[in-house]
């Protein structure tokens, strides 16, 4: 065996705190290692060339690259050695950057640790075996979860690219948060005017199959071949018959149903179409409020419906769809007022959230676009905006910035002045974050042209005094406490992950951070990929994001799927479990523990029972290997012997 070792300086990233030359020198002493060198940037073109050269010149048959994390460049170097004629699995990487040079300060200790890490890699590579991928067919359909602006963009781009798209939206209409907004910053475009046509495109596109008011029940399979179960929630209205005429909604005697679309600013009917531009424009019954469900009698809508679409007996329905890739665009959620006891925790009707104010501003909102405060339906003359209501607040578990509140507050302050010229807005802020194109100019305009008073400081308490709400805060620039007697207070409540985000991640096998936002493959270079191949992210499910960023990501995710589907066959990862039938005693404990049902029983010609791995189903976790008492089933590339070689390299030296 002829092992070659390449130690990367990574400029100063590694060489700064690791004596790379010494590491290389130590490696030369190891049995089996015939070549060891160090190089400035091993991942660079000449760096890779050097590896190829050495393979040829020195006749190397196993390669160890000690550099950054294999999550970064393993694929790069696998391709490199493949080009030089070696099997790609004859490569091992030692992570001497993220795990050593960047986290340890003592050069001597770092160097020693690096030597050890490379020794382990050498020990492992000497136990490596060549592995070969097989290829399998791809189902060129894509599932998009979430019909907000990001999901819609992704669905449209995929469909325009010729793919069949299954779009699943959990609420009765697509459109998401953007469909609730009045105007968009910094252009003050009417939000639904620019979104509406897109929504129509979605529903009219022959390649897009829309499941509204539906949720993902189950996801099975792997890249190229996913099996999805979709739960179509009972609407109690047969949508194939419903024409969206709205007669039922007019006649419904229950007027106090919670209005999800308007975030509770107003109430709606128990049977309702969420908003005029809804897509699909179909009615659904909210059984929590419908008298037919709560009292067992009413039936008004059934009587009134001209097409006889009402069906109180409707049940959830499960449909199956097979796809090859998934785009997740499940959006975000918002903090509730009850998180703020010092601001009344929802007790005061005139303390509302930004999205509620958005509905009040909106012409198709409950006040028809007249700004009227909820308590007494009068026009507020003094409006206070409180930014960072929950955001950047470690004590509430949201240490991050919600990204777009500064901008929409500026927009709302401008719109308030537009609607009520003799009004005065106050904005309490900590920092103004307006780093998009035209954004800072916009927040300046709010102050310079629209006279919004910006006060740098947090608000400590809001309490009622007569008909006013007293907002007590600080002006840290003045170094004083300040109070504003407001008619209406708008809290820019923190952006949080969508309700159920964690559960969805578990179904998708993707990771999410402490806050429930989905984690991308690489924060800089793989922003829409996840660690599960075939699953992509778009929009605010990955982190708070404004409209242009969400749309951009939707398109990016779509382009990833299009390029994935540009081939008819995909290569499988050969690092899967393999059974040594001579050693297998047929106890089939592996069958019991395999999370993917990828192992089945096989009866050999001599009647002996053994385990058999279904190659396309095995995901390569290795649970079977650590279950098998006789070591007969081995996860390739992470076999017992390979891992033992690493253990021995550290423990027995």
């Amino acid at each position: 065996m002829r092992v070659g070792v390449f130690i990367c300086h990574c400029g100063n990233n590694i060489a700064g705190t690791v004596d790379v030359a010494r590491v290389a020198a130590e490696m030369r002493k190891l049995p089996g290692v015939v070549y060891a060198t160090n190089y400035m940037y091993t991942c660079s073109e000449p760096g890779q060339e050097e590896i190829k050269q050495a393979i040829r010149k020195e006749g190397l048959d196993r390669i160890v690259v000690a550099a950054c994390s294999p999550r970064m460049h393993e694929n790069t170097f696998r391709k490199t050695i493949e080009k030089a004629g070696l099997n790609r699995y004859f490569l091992e990487m030692a992570n001497i950057r993220e795990h050593i040079s960047w986290i340890g300060e003592d050069k001597e200790l770092n160097t020693n640790k690096a030597i050890e890490a490379v020794k382990m890699a050498v020990a492992k590579v000497m136990n490596n075996k060549p592995l070969y991928s097989s290829s399998f067919k791809v189902n060129k359909r894509v599932l998009v979860i979430g019909g907000g602006v990001a999901g819609m963009q992704a669905a449209l781009d995929c469909a325009d690219g010729g793919l069949d798209v299954v779009l699943v939206e959990k609420s009765p209409s697509i459109g998401g948060m953007m469909s609730r907004l009045d105007k968009t910053f910094p252009t003050i475009d009417c939000s639904i005017c620019i979104l509406g046509p897109k929504m129509v495109d979605v529903v009219q596109h022959e390649k897009i199959k829309l499941y509204a008011y539906s949720e993902i029940d189950e996801i099975k399979g792997y890249v190229g071949n996913y099996q999805i179960k979709i739960r179509k929630k009972a609407t109690y209205v047969d949508w194939s018959k419903c024409t969206g005429c709205g007669a039922c909604m007019e006649k419904c005697p229950t007027r106090n149903a919670y209005d999800h679309f308007n975030f509770g600013v107003a109430t709606t009917r128990a049977i309702n179409i969420p908003f005029p531009q809804a897509i699909p424009k179909k009615a659904k019954i909210d059984p929590e409020f419908c008298r037919q469900f709560t009292k067992g009698k009413c039936g008004v809508c059934a009587k009134i419906c001209p097409t006889g679409a009402i069906n109180y007996e409707m049940k959830d329905e499960i449909v199956a769809e097979d796809v090859g890739a998934i785009i997740v665009a499940t959006g975000y959620g918002l903090f509730d007022l009850d998180k703020f006891p010092e601001y009344g925790a929802g007790r005061y009707p005139d303390v509302i959230t930004g999205i509620q104010y958005e509905r009040i501003l909106n012409a198709s909102g409950p006040t028809s676009g007249h700004i009227l405060r909820p308590s007494d339906q009068t026009e507020p003359k003094t409006v206070v905006f409180v930014s960072c209501a929950g955001s950047r607040d470690k004590s509430l578990g949201v240490p991050y910035c919600s990204n777009f509140c500064c901008m929409y507050i500026a927009k709302q302050a401008i719109l308030t002045k537009d609607h009520i010229p003799d009004s005065q807005s106050y904005v309490f802020y900590m920092d103004i974050r307006s780093n998009g194109k035209g954004y800072d100019e916009f927040t300046r305009r709010a102050q310079e042209e629209y006279g919004a008073k910006y006060i740098r400081g947090r608000v400590a308490k809001i309490y009622p005094k007569g008909k006013k709400m007293v907002v007590r805060g600080a002006d840290t620039l003045l170094g004083t406490q300040v109070e504003v007697e407001a008619d209406l207070v708008v809290l820019a409540t923190a952006v949080i992950s969508a309700p159920g985000a964690a559960g969805m991640a578990e179904k998708l096998h993707i990771s999410y951070d402490t806050f429930g936002f989905y984690v991308e493959s690489h924060p800089k270079l793989r922003p829409v990929e996840t660690n599960t191949s075939g699953v992509y992210l778009a929009g605010a499910c990955q982190g708070p994001k404004d409209i242009p960023a969400s749309v951009g990501q939707g398109s990016a995710a779509a382009s990833k799927v299009l390029s994935l589907f540009s081939k008819d066959m995909l290569e499988s990862d050969p690092a899967i479990a393999q059974v040594n039938i001579n050693a297998c005693v047929g106890c089939l404990k592996c069958v019991k523990t395999c999370p993917f049902q990828a192992i089945k029983e096989e009866v050999l010609r001599n009647g002996r029972k053994v385990a058999k791995v279904i190659e396309t189903v095995c995901a390569g976790c290795g649970v079977c290997t650590s279950t098998c008492p006789c070591g007969a089933i081995q996860l390739q590339h992470f076999t017992d012997n390979q891992l033992l070689a690493e253990v021995n390299a550290i423990c027995q030296s």
Partner: protein, 188 residues
């Protein structure tokens, strides 16, 4: 206002000292002003709480220790409760008072005197003897008639004993004082 030369006027040791004694990290403060906004005493402070925190971050030891703010803080815990950065601000104020007292810098003599009178009573009787505390304070502060208007109200309603209750273990309590003073002396 004077220009503060940050190159040589940041008292790094002081920052460390407060950090150590309070167990709180002043660097966590991002100056949102929530403490100031909620502080019931802000109007009487020479420096609002958030400014005290800023002065602490800037290592302005003398300004802080000579401030009235640290003595006027009543430890009502509003700042601690609301701090988004989870800093126990009231505890920092406590610590600053302790350091100020240790260094003999007391900008609010009356408050300190009141505290001292209170503690004297504890040392002597083991519990608080309200009349004695008040009298002692009045004597020391020179405010002979402090709250004298309240006296009749209190007395006619039998709210105050004229004689102190001395607990049996008052010597044990006094010992706590003595041991502490000895220890404080040892550590300079």
């Amino acid at each position: 206002m004077d220009t503060i030369n940050l190159s040589n006027k940041i008292d790094w040791e002081f920052i460390e000292q407060v950090k150590e004694e309070s167990g709180q990290n002043p660097s966590l403060c991002y100056q949102c002003g929530n403490c100031t906004a909620g502080c019931p005493y802000t109007n009487y402070f020479d420096y609002p709480v958030s400014m005290v925190m800023r002065l602490l971050q800037a290592g302005q030891k003398d300004t802080i220790l000579n401030s009235k703010a640290i003595w006027l803080c009543a430890t009502c815990e509003t700042c601690t409760t609301r701090c988004p950065c989870e800093i126990d601000v009231a505890h920092i104020m406590d610590t600053l008072r302790i350091i100020a007292r240790r260094e003999g810098k007391v900008s609010e003599k009356d408050i300190k005197l009141f505290y001292d009178s209170f503690l004297d009573s504890v040392k002597q009787f083991g519990r608080i003897y309200e009349v004695g505390t008040l009298l002692m304070y009045n004597l020391r502060s020179g405010h002979f008639l402090a709250d004298a208007d309240l006296g009749p109200k209190v007395l006619t309603r039998g709210k105050i004993h004229f004689f102190p209750t001395k607990i049996k273990g008052s010597d044990k309590v006094a010992q706590i004082f003595e041991r502490f003073q000895k220890k404080a002396k040892r550590h300079g």
